[in-house]
């Protein structure tokens, strides 16, 4: 069944990059996001060069690479967050569920409802915990109080925060600890019921214990969500991801099953990076 679905996407199939993971357990995967020959520019400066890769449904895909390699920029093309920066442009295509997200008829609101995002620095709104989580659903037109309460509870539970905050939903979110704030941001992203969750170094500002919590959470969430995570920590990529893409200076150097990237990388550059010889 699932391999059928993959075969039903000939346009994507025929383009598949040799690096792009025709790996061992590939047959069980459905392509959720398919990127073809993506180039991206800030003004005249090109920051991504001919990126092509597939991101699989309900898997965790990690982007690694040294600072400035374009991994965050790439992540932000997936929900078109780069649109809000002046002077950016791109060519190539990004298909989510086989639909071009930069197409003319695309509704940005619907796209971002489907592709949630968690940022590097936890950025809860200076409102109550409840209002933070309810913000997304409210924007998408849910007004019923009971319904909102259900969503908030479910999202906080999914983000592993419910037990800690259920008695103080009305207190200001900024009173939470850093780790709790980041899980609140995850809950806020989950509340709009996305299919894909983009995480831009979600644990880089957290202490080790909170990092572990967030990583455990990612492993739980991948049962229901397709997760793309940018990380500086190779250990983290190795721990949480199924697939890993290594970026260097705007190029996608290598993309494969995480285990393979960390044990038998195909490219010398990848090996140098993961063994800590540069970057």
């Amino acid at each position: 069944m699932s391999s059928d679905t993959l075969n039903n996407e000939p346009a994507i199939k025929t383009h598949i990059n040799s690096d792009a993971g025709c790996g061992q357990d590939n047959t069980t995967n459905n392509t959720k996001i398919s990127v073809r020959d993506l180039n991206f520019f800030y003004g005249t400066r090109q920051v991504l060069f001919d990126i092509s890769l597939n991101i699989y449904d309900k898997k965790v895909t990690a982007f690694i690479g040294p600072s400035g390699c374009g991994k965050s920029t790439f992540l932000r093309t997936l929900n078109r967050m780069n649109d809000i920066i002046e002077g950016t442009r791109h060519n190539g295509e990004i298909l989510i569920d086989s639909k071009d997200i930069y197409g003319e008829k695309v509704n940005l609101v619907q796209l971002r409802k489907k592709v949630g995002m968690v940022f590097q620095r936890s950025n809860p709104f200076p409102k109550s915990i409840f209002e933070n989580v309810a913000y997304g659903p409210r924007i998408h037109g849910i007004k019923n109080k009971g319904e909102l309460e259900n969503i908030v509870e479910k999202s906080l539970k999914n983000a592993g925060l419910w037990a800690e905050v259920k008695d103080r939903l009305t207190s200001n979110a900024l009173a939470l600890s850093g780790g709790q704030q980041q899980r609140l941001c995850i809950a806020r992203a989950l509340a709009i019921d996305p299919e894909i969750l983009l995480m831009d170094e979600p644990a880089s500002a957290l202490d080790p214990k909170s990092t572990t919590r967030v990583e455990d959470l990612i492993s739980e969430l991948k049962e229901n969500y397709t997760i793309v995570i940018v990380t500086h920590s190779m250990q983290q990529a190795a721990r949480v991801s199924d697939y890993t893409a290594f970026f260097y200076e705007g190029d996608l150097v290598e993309f494969d099953v995480t285990k393979k990237i960390f044990t038998m990388p195909a490219k010398k550059q990848t090996e140098d990076y993961i063994t800590g010889r540069f970057g």
């Binding site: 967050m81 809000i84 002046e86 971002r112 409802k113 940022f119 200076p126 900024l174 992203a189 709009i192």
Partner: protein, 283 residues
């Protein structure tokens, strides 16, 4: 040792400069309070002037100033806030917005008498609003717009970009983001700056000199097209044009005290509003 002496001298001078500012304010306030408090009574605050301002109260001037200020707020606040939102949230950084900003800064430096003459030319004569509350308020609004725009833009800028990003990432539109996640946090700063501008509008004489003010108007204004008495203008005439300038000194002081109390009151409202909002939204 020598360095220590130098240190003490400089410290002393800086301290003196600070004291000097306080001294000026304290002197002005004390002078006005001491000389003006005697003139203040219920009759002074609630009756019309009699005998060319030599007797009676300043009631219509108080009401007139309040009308002018209220209409000025109603005109300048929405305009100024909207401009600030446009400049900070919507407009791309182009040559055009650069020129707009330059114009705003220049406008802030234009002397108030020039605004008065501008108001006379445009609102009173060209648009045929006559000498009226409307003309006066429009002129005052022009004068305080730069203050409102600049302080509102600063307030918008101080709202962290991450709030906007997080909101967009949740699928909010630009306006939803601004309304729910930028304005609530920017409002305190916007209001504070704006109210300070409004305080200035209440105290200015020159802009209303030719556009709104009458030295004496026998009734309270009935519409925005009526002339109006105003505290600063009343004070100006009593202090410079009145035949019995010295005899009406207590009335001058009384008027000055009322005017200063009004402006201080407006500023105090600004301070309270700001601290209220800061407690409500802190980040």
């Amino acid at each position: 040792m020598k360095i220590k002496v130098q240190d003490l001298i400089i410290f002393g001078l800086i301290r003196l400069a600070t004291y000097f500012v306080v001294f000026i304010i304290a002197y002005i306030l004390l002078d006005i309070i001491v000389n003006g408090i005697g003139a203040i009574n219920w009759e002074f605050l609630t009756t019309f002037p009699r005998k060319g301002g030599s007797e009676g109260g300043i009631f219509p001037a108080i009401v007139g100033t309040l009308y002018l200020v209220l209409l000025t707020i109603a005109i300048a606040l929405p305009l100024g806030m909207a401009s600030a939102i446009y400049l900070n949230e919507y407009a791309k950084q182009t040559r055009f917005t650069h020129i707009v900003r330059l114009a705003i800064i220049t406008l802030a430096g234009v002397p108030s008498i020039v605004f008065g003459l501008f108001g006379l030319g445009i609102f009173v004569i060209f648009l045929k609003f006559g000498t009226s509350i409307l003309s006066g308020s429009l002129t005052l609004a022009c004068m305080i717009l730069p203050t409102i725009i600049v302080s509102s833009e600063e307030a918008l800028k101080s709202v962290p970009m991450q709030f906007r990003e997080a909101s967009y990432a949740l699928g909010a539109t630009k306006w939803q983001t601004i309304r729910k996640n930028v304005l609530p946090y920017a409002i305190p700063g916007m209001l504070t700056g704006s109210i300070l501008g409004i305080g200035r509008a209440a105290g200015e004489t020159a802009p209303i000199l030719f556009t709104a003010a009458a030295f004496f108007f026998p009734r309270l204004p009935g519409s925005v097209f009526d002339q109006v008495m105003a505290l600063p203008y009343h004070l100006y005439v009593l202090a410079t044009q009145h035949p019995g300038m010295d005899e009406v000194r207590p009335i001058q002081y009384g008027t000055a005290l009322v005017l200063i109390s009004l402006v201080l009151g407006i500023n105090i409202i600004a301070i309270f509003l700001r601290s209220y909002f800061i407690r409500k939204y802190k980040w």
